[in-house]
């Protein structure tokens, strides 16, 4: 097999270019599979995943995230590596990728490899290159750490299948939440060609699970499941549409994760929106919060948002927002309510809810106990009772609770009516204001 290799370039330069080109892909998790080393090679995998560093933007760096090549025949408008961009191009050889992975892994820099690629010649050829690389890494280098690869839409299903038996996770990017957005910004990609391999991997995983129950030593197929990502804010979809798409992906394609990537403006293009405030990070954050609610808290997309209220509250997280609109379901009695109900209380997470359920078997819990179990009382206290009592004299009113939740300073222990009192002092007469130039003068003089 021959392909174009940029020979003059040093490995360092290639790593710079191809690491830089891969950073816009958000998935960098190494979770979902527990595998001990077999003693003959290098590496293992830990269920919870391990992050090894955090980049200056605060994102976790768990895997050696690189592109195999940033040459690409496609011209997606939002992508830095699109055909029409004049950027330095580079390609690794499978040997180089393996060596880098092993050397970094030995020093505990990384948890494994994340290999993606621009489309070189055609999808099948590119997929074949990725397959060859991970095959070499798994067999020749006996690497047993985490591998995440991209399945290239439009590639021969057989190559995708072969690769699936070597890696832990596979992902295919949905890129944009709707088919229309895809048509506008990624003219070479089609919704159907993205969903077809996604379905293929899903079927592969289901079938593999059945095989594994019959024969424990059967080779495992994508054991950490598949994920996808959507770009947020490049096209005009609202949060409700995006979250409904995510819900569908979880329901119908059994995805492990859906990632949301706030649109980063890297190309000048008239089809792209201008975002003067930078990437829509808060929106991305709210979507992740809601995504957690879908996966771990048994919420449904249409409980959190609706056609009438299609976007998330900027000020409140989706769970608090939901609770405030459903005050009829509160307060919840901590010592009696079932797990699902407790899970829906703002300030109580999956872990603390579990602890509450287990701890209350040995006696009633009070507010002091809850605090120690990890409940965030300053959020939860409006929604719960312990043995029939609220923590403070609070009102079960939407406006009142909203006001208190939004206030960073906790006023509650001092005043339950929402009014703050202050200590009088000789030096801060309420009738005077400070004026920068002329010193202190009475309010009446300003009017």
């Amino acid at each position: 097999m021959d392909y174009y290799v940029t020979q003059e370039m040093s490995l360092m330069e290639k790593l710079g270019i191809l690491g830089d080109a891969a950073k816009y892909d958000v998935a960098c998790t190494s979770s979902g599979v527990d595998r001990k080393g077999d003693g003959t090679g290098i590496g293992n995998a830990v269920k919870a995943g391990i992050c090894h560093s955090f980049s200056a933007d605060g994102r976790c760096m768990s895997l050696l995230k690189i592109l195999f090549t940033n040459e690409c025949i496609y011209d997606c408008k939002y992508c830095i590596n699109r055909r029409s961009n004049d950027v330095p191009r580079a390609s690794f050889t499978p040997e180089e990728v393996c060596r880098l992975t092993i050397e970094f892994y030995r020093r505990n820099y990384i948890e494994g490899l994340f290999l993606s690629s621009g489309i070189l010649y055609n999808p099948t050829f590119t997929m074949e290159l990725i397959y060859q690389t991970v095959y070499k890494l798994r067999t020749e280098y006996r690497f047993q750490g985490y591998i995440h690869i991209k399945a290239i839409p439009g590639a021969d299903p057989e190559v995708v299948q072969k690769a699936g038996f070597l890696v832990d996770r596979m992902s295919i990017n949905l890129e944009l939440p709707t088919a229309e957005g895809l048509r506008n910004l990624a003219p070479n990609k089609h919704r159907k060609s993205i969903l077809t391999p996604m379905r293929q991997i899903q079927t592969g995983i289901t079938r593999n699970k059945e095989e594994l129950t019959v024969y424990k030593k059967a080779p495992s197929f994508v054991p950490a499941g598949q994920s996808t990502q959507m770009i947020i804010g490049a096209t005009p979809e609202n949060d409700y549409q995006i979250l409904s798409v995510a819900q569908d992906l979880y329901d119908k394609f059994d995805l492990k994760r859906v990632f949301y990537s706030a649109f980063v403006h890297v190309n000048e293009d008239k089809a792209l929106p201008v975002l003067p405030g930078g990437p829509p990070l808060l929106r991305e954050h709210r979507l992740y919060q809601a995504d957690w609610l879908l996966r771990y808290y048994k919420f449904r997309a249409d409980e959190l948002l609706s056609l009438e209220k299609p976007n998330f509250n900027v000020l409140l997280d989706p769970k608090a927002d939901w609770a405030l609109r459903h005050l009829e379901q509160f307060p919840v009695e901590i010592n009696r309510a079932d797990y699902e109900t407790i899970l829906r209380v703002p300030g109580i997470g999956v872990k603390s809810a579990g602890r509450i359920i287990r701890a209350r078997r040995n006696g009633n819990l009070g507010f002091e106990d809850l605090k120690k179990l990890g409940v965030v009382l300053k959020r939860a206290l409006y929604f719960i009772t312990c043995s029939g009592r609220m923590m403070y004299k609070t009102k079960l009113e939407e406006d009142y609770i909203t006001r208190n939740l939004l206030d960073k300073r906790q006023k509650l222990p001092f005043s339950s009516d929402g009014i703050t009192y202050r200590q009088l002092s000789l030096f801060d007469d309420m009738n005077f204001v400070q004026d920068a130039g002329e010193g202190i003068k009475p309010i009446s003089a300003l009017q």
Binding site: G16, G19, D20, I50, S53, D57, G58, A359, N362
Partner: protein, 258 residues
């Protein structure tokens, strides 16, 4: 009633010996406090008993705990004892006392309504977190001869919990992890079992020289880390929250002299 304050060595064996003696000498359990290290502030109306560590007695306690409470609770107790907390001895003693009293339903460590058990749970959780952090942020350097060496400066004594993880990960490597706070070295010879060396001088690390390709690889990784950040998303506070400064002393990508 007169309080009995049992003073023992600050180690798992020390505290387990103290627990053994409390039961063997039939002290009234409610009045006993287990304290590690020095006497500290002497208390009025209290009797002080110093107990010397006895590995055999500690082993008996360990066996009992294993039999009565199971693996999970034993692990939590071990992790709790690896912390620096002054109250850990007492918390573990109270946990054992509640557990042996037979009034707790279900798993011992689930009964978080009890003060001592909750304390052990909290300590264990913080030690677990620290261990996990070091699994993330520990960095090996390749020395001449292909030996991998790493330094750590953890708050808790987590090295014994860290070694199995890396031994499973690198079965064919000769590696060494050195706890600079406690002068403790964990050594893993290729294809063999790992072991700990106490009171190991730091010189064994200082005397080794870096391998030839080490400098280049360190530079490559630092370069990769720099490239991985997206400029318009820059958020140093978030980075520090996820990776506190105290872990960065030995991290390749934060070392100045590259």
């Amino acid at each position: 009633m007169e309080e009995i304050i049992v003073i023992c060595e600050d180690s798992e064996d020390g505290i387990f010996t103290a627990v053994y003696e409390v039961y063997a000498r039939k002290y009234p359990l409610e009045t006993v406090r287990i304290q590690t290290g020095e006497e500290g502030n002497l208390r009025l109306f209290a009797r002080y008993e110093k107990i010397a560590t006895d590995r055999e007695k500690a082993e008996k306690v360990r066996r009992t705990l294993w039999k009565r409470f199971g693996e999970g609770a034993c692990e939590d107790i071990s992790y709790a004892l690896s912390t620096q907390d002054e109250e850990k001895g007492q918390a573990v003693f109270e946990t054992i006392r509640e557990g042996l009293s037979g009034k707790i339903k279900g798993h011992l460590m689930d009964a978080l309504g009890y003060c001592g058990i909750r304390k052990v749970f909290e300590l264990s959780r913080s030690a677990h977190h620290e261990k996990h952090r070091w699994e993330e942020f520990l960095r090996f350097q390749e020395m001449d001869g292909g030996i991998l060496a790493a330094r750590i400066n953890p708050k808790c004594l987590i090295l014994p919990f860290l070694m199995p993880h890396f031994s499973d990960r690198f079965p064919l490597e000769n590696f060494l992890i050195y706890d600079t706070v406690r002068n403790l070295a964990g050594i893993h010879p290729a294809k063999k079992e790992w072991f700990l060396v106490r009171e190991c001088p730091e010189d064994i690390l200082n005397s080794m020289i870096l391998s030839e390709k080490e400098a280049e690889l360190r530079e490559m990784f630092a370069y990769f880390c720099e490239k991985a950040a997206i400029e318009s998303r820059k958020n140093r506070d978030l980075q520090r929250q996820m990776m506190p400064l105290r872990f960065r002393d030995f991290m390749t990508e934060f070392q100045k002299n590259l």
